[in-house]
C-alpha cells in the first residue's frame, strides 16, 4: 500500500504536468535563454569554453531546477489540496517519495534537453562521453531533487517562499554541486569514471543522506 500511495502521487503529478505543461514549457524557454546568454558571453573561444563548460552546465541545471522545484507544491497550495495530503491517513513519506520521483523525472527531462542544446550551441561532440556524463548527471540530480523537494514543502506555505527557497537550498547543495561539477569536468576532459570515483562516492553518499532525511522528516514538515 505504501508503494501504491507513492505511485499515485507520481501518477497525479505526471498527468497534471502532461496536460498543463506549465513547468516544462517555462523550464524549456528558461534553459534556452540561459544558453543564449552563455553563448554570447563565451563566443567561440574553445579554450575558455573547455574550462567553463562544466560549471555552466550545472549552473543551467541548478537555475532551471530552482524554478522547477520551487513550484513542486504550488499545485497543492493553489488548489487547497495541502490539507487533503495532510489528512490522508498513513505514512506521509510515501507522498514525499512520489513527489521526489515526479520532480526527478521533470528535472532529468529538462537536463536531457539542455545537454542536447549545449552540444548544438557549443559544437561539442558528447557521443562517447554521454554514458559517463549521464551517470554523473543522474547522481547529482537525485541529491538536488531530494533536498529540493523537501525544502519546497517546507517553504510552500510561507509568504517569502521565492526568496527563502533558494537561500535555504543552495548552501545544503554544496557537496552535490562540488562533486557533480568536478566529476563532469573530468568526464568532459575524457577521463573514465574510475578516475572520478571519489566524486561519485560523494554524490552517492549525499543522495542517500538527503533521501533518508526527506523520508524521515517529511511528516513533521507537512504537519508544520
Amino acid at each position: 500500500m505504501y508503494a501504491r500511495r507513492a505511485w499515485i502521487v507520481l501518477w497525479k503529478d505526471v498527468l497534471v504536468e502532461r496536460r498543463s505543461k506549465e513547468a516544462l514549457n517555462a523550464l524549456f524557454f528558461f534553459a534556452l535563454l540561459l544558453l543564449f546568454i552563455f553563448q554570447f558571453t563565451l563566443g567561440g573561444d574553445r579554450e575558455r569554453l573547455a574550462g567553463a563548460l562544466p560549471g555552466l552546465l550545472w549552473l543551467g541545471f541548478v537555475l532551471s531546477g530552482l524554478v522547477g522545484l520551487g513550484r513542486a507544491f504550488l499545485t497543492e497550495r493553489d488548489h487547497d489540496c495541502w490539507e487533503g495530503l495532510l489528512l490522508s491517513p498513513g505514512d506521509k513519506s510515501a507522498i514525499y517519495l512520489g513527489k521526489l520521483a515526479g520532480n526527478l523525472l521533470l528535472m532529468l527531462l529538462v537536463e536531457a534537453i539542455m545537454l542536447v542544446l549545449f552540444g548544438v550551441f557549443f559544437n561539442i561532440d558528447l557521443g562517447r562521453r554521454l554514458p559517463a556524463l549521464a551517470g554523473v548527471v543522474v547522481l547529482g540530480t537525485v541529491g538536488f531533487a531530494a533536498v529540493g523537494t523537501l525544502f519546497a514543502a517546507m517553504t510552500a506555505q510561507v509568504r517569502a517562499r521565492e526568496l527563502l527557497f533558494p537561500v535555504l537550498l543552495l548552501p545544503v547543495l554544496v557537496p552535490v554541486l562540488l562533486g557533480a561539477v568536478k566529476a563532469t569536468e573530468a568526464v568532459l576532459a575524457g577521463e573514465s569514471l574510475s578516475g572520478v570515483m571519489h566524486w561519485l562516492k560523494l554524490l552517492a553518499a549525499a543522495d542517500i543522506v538527503y533521501v533518508a532525511v526527506g523520508v524521515l522528516t517529511f511528516d513533521a514538515i507537512l504537519e508544520g
Partner: protein, 245 residues
Amino acid sequence: MDWFDTMMADFAVQVSGLKKFYAGRPVLTEVNLSIRPGEAVALLGANGAGKTTLLRILATLSRPSRGKAVIAGHDCVKQAERVRESVGFVAHGAWVYDDLTALENLTFWTTLSSRPADGEELRTALTAVDLDRFAHARVRTFSVGMKRRLALARLTLSRPRVILLDEPFAGLDQRAGKWVDEYLAAFKAAGGCVLLTTHSFGRGLGVADRIVILAGGGVVLDTPTATLSPDDVRRLYEAHAEDPT
C-alpha cells in the same frame, strides 16, 4: 480504562475545556461539546465565532491551545493519525486538481487514503452527486457547485465514522442540497456522527438533532431542534450569537 475514557466511549465527538488562541488573541475560550453516534449537530455563529477553528481542531488540522478533543475514542492531538482514519472533512476548499478529471480526482484521493475504490464504486459516488455525466471531464471546466459536489463524492468514498462539514450547502443548487440532506440522514441512521457549520436557518437544520450556537469563544446555546422552526432558530440566533452578553 479510567472514568474519563469510559465516558468518552459513549460519544463519537467529545470536546472538553477547549481553548484556542491565535497570536495571543482568544478565538475559543471554553468549548464543551459532546455528540453521540447517530447524532447530527448544526454549529451556528457569527463570522469569527470560531466555528471553522473548532472543525479544524477536530479534523486535526490545528492544535488546541488547551483542553481536549476526542473523536471515536482517539485524542485529536496525541492520536491524530487514528482520528484521520475516522473523520471525513469537507472544508471551504474542494481539494480537487483542475487538470485531472472527476474520476481521476476520486482515484487519487481514495488511493492516497489507502481506501482504493473500484470503477463501480467511483461511478456510484459520482452518480450520487449527479456528476456521472462529467466523470471524464476535467475539473477545470466545473463550476464551484460542481467542485463542491465532487468533494462530497470524495467524502462518501472515505467511509468515515464522523463527518465534519464547513458550510456544506454553500454553492450548491437545490437538487445537490437535497442530496446532501438525504446522504447525511442515511449516514446518521447508520450510526454516523455529523457536525456541520451553517449560516442558513433552513438548509442543514433539517438533518440536525441539535443546534449549538458559538459566541464569545464558547457554547452559548445547545438545544434540540425537534420542536424548533426556522423562525425559532433565527430568533435564538439573534438572541445569542449576535448579542452573547
